[in-house]
Subunit: 336 residues, 2 copies
């Protein structure tokens, strides 16, 4: 194992890119050089890492000389265009976009679930969709115990999922409405302030959004079980940080709420918050800035033979994106 | 049929009571005298009806002399205490609280679904829970066609469900947070601004809230089918008006999305908004102040034999409470 690595963050000025820098620093990732890359617009900006300013450079195909690990979070088009150059330069790419996730040659990894898949990489490892990551961290340990047949999930997703511009849009709309002005919209298909929008990403012909289909397909790939059925509804709600999920699971075998809690208490990356009589359950507000996937409201669903309902919450920028990518990098170098 | 009626609104100064007055006026309900009743605190206030001020009177057991229809929306305790006095005075009580809903002698009515049950009343008719009303208006027509076996529903409920104080709390919390002050909470178990709270009402020993169990029990009673299974998760979200619901339905028989849309287009009280490619689907923001139950995102759920997913939105104060109560009164007097 080497002592330290040359790391690039592609899309460094975005919400996820920024958080990647924070997570690399916070977890003492063994960085030799940190190279920050972004579009020409952002080149020249300075970002802080370990109390020093690093100047953001323009992303080009020549940006990756000497880079060993490249964390990409600059959108699918940029990943498709520049990831091959990074791989050619000798880097392993950990890509947060959806560009390569379903490519059979690309491992799709949540370290708590399928870290072993990292070894199969051919230069690119994909970081899953945020809604999927938190769901599989919570469900995989239960699947191993009682085998999941079917999942019905409805999400409550924060505007941070649309990046810094999504955060700004919610804030600006609320300020406008509270000043009796018109709320302008750019990022979301409708006003998000004081509204719930049952659309994230574009619609496919079957009536599901791409975001929803990610939850179907990525869940199966990460959990390595094509028999798992997922029926998703993805909804944007007017909160800044963290995604919440109402998850209904039908198992092959019986699993009591007590056993589920016990399993989850002993599962990596999970914190059980489940004392409803004292109003203790996971909350988006409390999950923001935290590493864990929080699970609560675990209760029997008596409408089906072996059913449970759960409420799963996590910081979508952190475990849902930046942290998961850095955790993959840690596994890659044998650091954790 | 009489020409006009003496009507009392109990809880006239609350969010629902106020809307009842608006709906009575807007629908030209044949009112002879409108008597507005509330707690001693609110007595003396004036509310407008047909451009005249009506002075709110203190609710006592003697308030109902001459009253023929009493619309109650002052909480379960007040209903239990004062509804018998109203009935004794000769009024028919239409009660918006949960006090009598599951009483076998009390019809629980959504006029589009089971108006016929009104005739069985013995002085009291119950108005169902808001989340349940909008769900059964949309699902009953589909049930009649393809028979519902099981419903998995997750709600996105506005703060208006907690009355004017709930609305004020969200507004005040946002104002405080945007001024870098602490958000105070009184009405909700946690901060609701920029948060999702998976608790509405108190918890029962099985881990479900009373709000959730209402959706189980009231649905069966209104749809008059004890075989319907309901698995609910009720969640408060930071929006002012309207409840949204992500509803997964398993049917006994096949029902295509096209047939479901066609049935719903011809169903009373329903408006289909379902052109996702153009980002047309029901939105809480647009439903506010409207009478209809809006249904969209109707799509096949391929994770089960005969499944559909739907997104159902309605104004919880209007169809979910005040309008439904007045519609019951209209049926009672044979006015509609």
């Amino acid at each position: 194992m080497k002592q330290s690595y040359n790391v690039a963050v592609v899309g460094a000025t975005g919400a996820v890119g920024n958080e990647m820098i924070t997570v690399l620093e916070g977890r003492n990732f063994p960085v030799k050089e940190l190279r920050l890359l972004a579009s020409a617009n952002s080149a020249g900006k300075k970002l802080e890492y370990q109390r020093k300013d690093i100047v953001v450079q323009e992303l080009t195909e020549k940006s990756f000389e000497g880079i060993e690990i490249a964390l990409f979070s600059a959108g699918g088009d940029r990943s498709k265009q520049f990831a091959p150059a990074a791989v050619k330069a000798g880097a392993v790419v950990i890509d947060n976009s959806s560009a390569f996730r379903m490519d059979k040659d690309v491992p799709l990894v949540v370290p708590e679930v399928n870290a072993h898949a990292i070894a199969r990489h051919k230069g690119i490892i994909a970081n899953p969709n945020c809604s999927t990551i938190q769901m599989v961290v919570a469900l995989d340990p239960l699947h191993r115990k009682a085998k999941i047949k079917r999942i019905v999930v409805s999400t409550y997703q924060s505007v941070a999922g649309a990046g810094q511009k999504g955060i700004d849009e919610l804030a600006n709309q609320i300020k406008a409405l509270f000043s009796f002005q018109t709320a302008e919209k750019k990022m979301f298909p409708h006003q998000i302030a004081f509204n719930c929008i049952p659309q994230i990403d574009v619609f496919e012909p079957d009536g599901y959004t791409k975001e929803e289909l990610k939850m179907v397909n990525e869940t199966r790939k990460i959990m390595e079980d094509q028999s798992i059925l997922v029926s998703p509804t993805a909804v944007r709600v007017p909160i800044f940080m963290s995604h919440s999920e109402s998850v209904n699971v039908e198992f092959e075998n019986d699993l009591s709420p007590e056993d589920a809690r016990e399993i989850l208490r002993n599962s990596p990356g999970v914190i059980v918050q489940d004392d409803p009589g004292k109003s203790v359950y996971p909350l988006a507000m409390n999950a923001a800035g935290e590493d864990a996937v929080f699970v609560g409201r675990i209760r029997r669903d008596n409408s089906v033979k072996h059913g449970l309902n759960l409420w799963i919450v996590s910081d979508n920028i952190r475990k849902g994106a930046a942290l998961n990518a850095v955790q993959i990098a840690e596994r890659l170098i044998g650091h954790s």
